[in-house]
């Protein structure tokens, strides 16, 4: 109704598509909305086609480089929220980020988020994100400048190879940790932070921050040219560079 010629909204969140992601059946939703249905019903919301278990090993993102620093010049006024994953920090997706920022600046002590069909509480006092249905699942969060080195946005791995070195598995307790800590790509799996990472089972694991390879497609073309290794340290494949 609103904008006649605008892109169609995502049928799941009813908003403009954020990081449009295409399922094998051809239907397109936001990346996080696809994650939600892949965890819950494991079926496409439009046609109920089964979503393969390993779909998130190679999600089909229809967007060019989604991980940009859009407006580097006005960084100083803006804040980005991050949650901790294995060996680094993920940016929250734009909408969650806006919710967190609004809640935080309004002075409340926590903020509830519905992310991929699961409810999380972000506790601003302790700066952690807790899964409501299972409070043992928690991750640290932080508010930082938008250019802080991150793994990507909400599970969409950064594609820029320079940024992709992967932080080491060292305990990143210091909030000022910066890219100097990167560079060691070995043995990133065996780290103490593992317990902070939310992984309940293999299917969720494949959805969580272990998203290894993202197939980037501009419009329609179908995968086929990519051979990706399941190795944790692999760079995401990219047709862009």
């Amino acid at each position: 109704m609103e904008k006649e010629n605008a892109e169609p909204d995502c049928a799941i969140c009813l908003q403009k598509l954020h990081h449009p992601t295409q399922l094998p059946c051809g239907h397109v939703f936001c990346f996080l909305c696809v994650k939600g249905i892949a965890i819950q019903s494991k079926k496409c919301a439009m046609c109920r086609t089964h979503i393969p278990r390993d779909y998130f090993d190679h999600p089909i993102l229809l967007e060019k480089q989604p991980l940009d620093e859009v407006d580097e010049d006005c960084d100083n006024n803006k804040h980005q929220w991050y949650y901790e994953g294995r060996n680094g920090w993920w940016k929250y997706e734009e909408r969650s980020n806006a919710d967190l920022e609004a809640a935080f600046t309004s002075g409340v002590s926590e903020c509830l988020l519905l992310l991929a069909g699961t409810i999380y509480c972000v506790d601003f006092q302790n700066m952690v994100q807790i899964r409501r249905s299972d409070p043992t699942k928690l991750r640290r969060v932080k508010r930082d400048i938008p250019t802080f080195p991150s793994k990507g946005i909400a599970g969409i791995k950064r594609l820029d190879p320079q940024q992709e070195t992967g932080q080491t598995g060292q305990d990143v307790r210091d909030e000022n940790t910066n890219s100097l800590q990167e560079g060691n790509e070995t043995d990133v799996i065996n780290v103490s932070e593992e317990s902070l990472v939310e992984v309940d089972n293999s299917s969720i694991e494949s959805l969580s921050d272990g998203i290894r390879n993202i197939t980037l497609q501009h419009n329609n073309a179908v995968d086929g040219s990519h051979v990706s290794s399941p190795n944790e340290n692999d760079e995401p494949s990219s047709e862009d560079t």
Partner: protein
């Protein structure tokens, strides 16, 4: 406490701005996830002329989970039991997050037009509907008159 997800806000606005004919759904003043619903009995059905009250609740993980919907007004229907619970696949295993409050209520209205006694929830009603449909329809009309009119 929790901010209302944008999707719920959007659906609520649309329900107000472009209401579905024969259906009204109004969020409760103290709980934006709880809707007071009225569905009119479809024409050419035994429920014609009736106004049926329902309650609809959006669970925390909506739209990943289906809304919970129940008839408050008593109704004689093979797929709706004495407690108002509704046997409808899209409210259970056929739920999809692409469905909405609006589509759910339309499906419920359609269920009133097309009772399905082969998939019953109210067994005695379904039984009568199968063995003596005209009597079942008479009962349904009588219940509609008694419970779903002038209130």
């Amino acid at each position: 406490m929790a901010a209302l997800p944008r999707r719920i806000i959007k659906e609520t606005q649309r329900l107000m701005q472009e209401p579905v004919p024969g259906i009204s759904a109004v969020p409760s003043e103290n709980n934006a996830r709880y809707f007071h619903v009225i569905v009119t009995g479809p024409e050419d059905s035994p429920f014609e002329g009736g106004l049926f009250k329902l309650e609809l609740f959006l669970p925390e993980d909506y739209p990943m989970s289906a809304p919970k919907v129940r008839f408050i007004t008593k109704i004689y229907h093979p797929n709706i039991d004495r407690l108002g619970r509704i046997c409808l696949d899209i409210l259970k295993d056929k739920w999809s997050p692409a469905l909405q409050i609006r589509t759910v209520l339309l499906s419920i209205q359609a269920l009133l037009s097309a009772p399905n006694p082969d998939d019953p929830l109210a067994n005695d009603v379904a039984e009568l509907w199968k063995v003596n449909e005209s009597e079942a329809i008479r009962n349904a009309k009588e219940w509609t008159r008694r419970y779903a009119m002038d209130n």
